[in-house]
């Protein structure tokens, strides 16, 4: 019995290698199987991991949300955004200010943060999305820096030292204060982000993004308002970043402008491009690589950044489409 199951499993493993993992993932039930198994593992991780590993894994889920958010802008709509950390900052500061200065309940700050994220998305996206992609990159870069500098210089945002004493949220009297709690919160957010991304990708709007990405003029000729469609992507990406920022502030209980530097935007963009733009599993892998790589190679000290850069270069040279394989 053990023999048979063993041989079939090696057989199927070979089949997977030969026929390609992608082919095996094609049928819906296989995909659901894999997703269920992964979700099971993710849910069970707190039982076996120590606190340090939990911190790292929470950070992974957190970056999954940010990368999926930026993926809507970069991967789906094909816009280069170098200032994504700004939206993350908008969410984090909204929660930080409202809870620490005004004593407002954490959960109530989320809709406010969503509102501000939408405003920020429209203000920056509205006038700039008509620009060519390379100009857009520069404008978004500038926008990211402006938001950080504003946060650094206003009194309400706590200036350069930032905000401290942000209250931990609670659900029905149960305070979220341990890393395990936040692990599950970020896992839930990541799953929600995947779900929303998937549904958007496979919709009228998702198709429109792809039309515009492939041929803007043809898309426009087919009656698609390219500026409007891009603005949607920009604003939805902003909401992802904003909401992630709310939970980031709640977990850290302190935020400072240095969290939202240009490097942060680049890091998130790296995750998106590394795994494979526009592909949800790819972006998730990218987020994992982003967080895990520096942790795994901690002994290397400052050399690890160099090693990271080299690995990145190699991946981009040999897999310009990202780690995750392209369809067909």
């Amino acid at each position: 019995m053990a023999d048979i199951s063993n041989s079939t499993s090696t057989n199927s493993a070979q089949a997977v290698k030969a026929g390609g993992l992608m082919a095996w993932l094609e049928p819906q039930q296989n995909r659901i199987l894999v997703l269920a198994a992964l979700a099971g593992i993710a849910l069970a991780l707190p039982l076996i991991l120590n606190n340090y590993a939990m911190e790292v894994m929470s950070s992974v889920w957190f970056y999954v949300v940010l990368c999926l958010g930026l993926n809507i802008v970069v991967g789906y709509a094909g816009l280069l955004d170098l200032g994504y950390a700004a939206f993350f900052a908008v969410g984090a500061y909204t929660t930080g200010i409202l809870t620490s200065h005004f004593g407002i309940n954490f959960w109530l700050t989320i809709p406010v943060a969503i509102f501000f994220s939408i405003c920020a998305g429209v203000i920056i996206g509205g006038p700039t999305l008509r620009l060519r992609s390379d100009y857009l990159a520069i404008v978004t870069l500038g926008f990211g820096e402006i938001v950080r500098i504003i946060a650094r210089n206003l009194e309400i945002t706590g200036g350069a030292s930032g905000l401290i004493g942000i209250e931990k949220p609670s659900i029905m009297g149960f305070e979220l204060n341990e890393i395990q709690h936040f692990y599950y919160v970020f896992l839930l957010l990541a799953i929600l982000a995947c779900f929303i991304s998937y549904r958007l990708q496979h919709s009228r709007l998702g198709r429109a993004w792809q039309y515009v990405r492939e041929d803007e003029d043809a898309a426009e000729a087919m009656g698609i308002n390219r500026v409007g469609i891009k603005l949607y992507a920009y604003v939805i990406g902003a909401i992802f970043g904003g909401v992630a920022g709310c939970f980031f502030a709640a977990k850290m209980t302190a935020i400072s402008p240095e969290t939202f530097m240009f490097q942060q935007s680049v890091l998130i963009l790296l995750g998106v491009v590394l795994g494979g733009m526009g592909k949800i599993p790819g972006v998730i892998i990218g987020a994992f690589a982003l967080v895990l790589f520096p942790e795994v190679f901690r002994e290397l000290g400052s050399m690890r950044i160099l090693v990271f850069a080299v690995v990145m270069l190699i991946i981009m040279l040999y897999r310009p489409e990202g780690i995750w394989p392209a369809k067909k």
Partner: protein
């Protein structure tokens, strides 16, 4: 009644006149052609009509609306669809997805509907799919709906473009050299298709074409331009016998030979 009226259209690039004081009209329910030698400005006229070029002067009235200087997607929504002289398919997408782009301006599900997938959204998606399959059926390639569009033969890729334009539910269809690159059989099928689009779907057609046989066979009214100016107008016979037209074409040929 004229569905499309072009009045004193002017267009220039860097001081060079591409279209000069051009006026013509297309009757509702007709099949009309715009012909002229290479570089006469035919595609530029289409680009002005569909909003891709902003004319320097003149007026374009389509279905009672002034559409000059409007955005291309707005004009498509008003009911004007086009195909491109060089294929402009969404290459890595399936044939059906390509055609579904045409229905975009006739549907409205936004991001919230996409995430919730409520009844109205599902109905809209199903209707979109069904209508686009009908469009593919109409142009004769229903069996290719799941193929990646760039894997199709050239002739079939042309058909995808026609189906995509039909999916916008247009009143007026602009075809820019639809017969270019087609073999004899495919041209015959194209002639039949153009007539069916008008007769069965009631869509008015304006086409640019170099294949004079095809033009003379299908068009009820022909406008001839050269150097951006109208030099003749009329039915096939009138145009064929017009000395200015003969000169424009022969003159060009001599230049090309020389």
């Amino acid at each position: 009644m004229a569905l499309l009226e072009v009045k004193n259209l002017m267009l220039s690039f860097a001081g060079l006149d591409v279209i000069k004081d051009l006026s013509f009209s297309v009757e509702n329910g007709s099949i009309a052609s715009l012909i002229g030698p290479n570089g006469a400005g035919k595609t530029s006229v289409f680009n002005c009509l569909t909003g891709f070029y902003k004319p320097n002067d003149g007026d374009i009235i389509f279905d009672g609306n002034r559409i000059v200087r409007k955005k291309p997607h707005k004009i498509t929504k008003h009911g004007m669809a086009r195909t491109f002289q060089n294929l402009r398919l969404f290459k890595s997408m399936t044939v059906l997805d390509n055609v579904m782009s045409g229905m975009h301006c006739r549907t409205k599900a936004g991001p919230i509907a996409a995430v919730l997938r409520h009844g109205a959204q599902q109905r809209e998606e199903a209707e979109t799919k069904k209508f686009c399959q009908e469009c593919l059926e109409f142009v004769g390639i229903p069996e290719f709906e799941d193929h990646i569009s760039s894997n199709l033969s050239y002739g079939n890729q042309r058909r995808v473009e026609w189906a995509r334009a039909l999916a916008t539910k247009p009143k007026l269809l602009l075809l820019d050299e639809p017969a270019a690159g087609l073999n004899h059989d495919e041209k015959q099928q194209l002639i039949a298709l153009i007539k069916r689009i008008r007769d069965e779907l009631g869509i008015t057609i304006l086409l640019i074409e170099h294949d004079m046989g095809l033009v003379m066979k299908v068009s009820e009214k022909i406008t001839v331009i050269d150097y951006g100016q109208k030099i003749a107008q009329g039915n096939a016979e009138e145009v064929q016998n017009n000395p200015k037209v003969i000169e424009a074409y022969l003159g060009k040929e001599e230049e090309e030979i020389a």
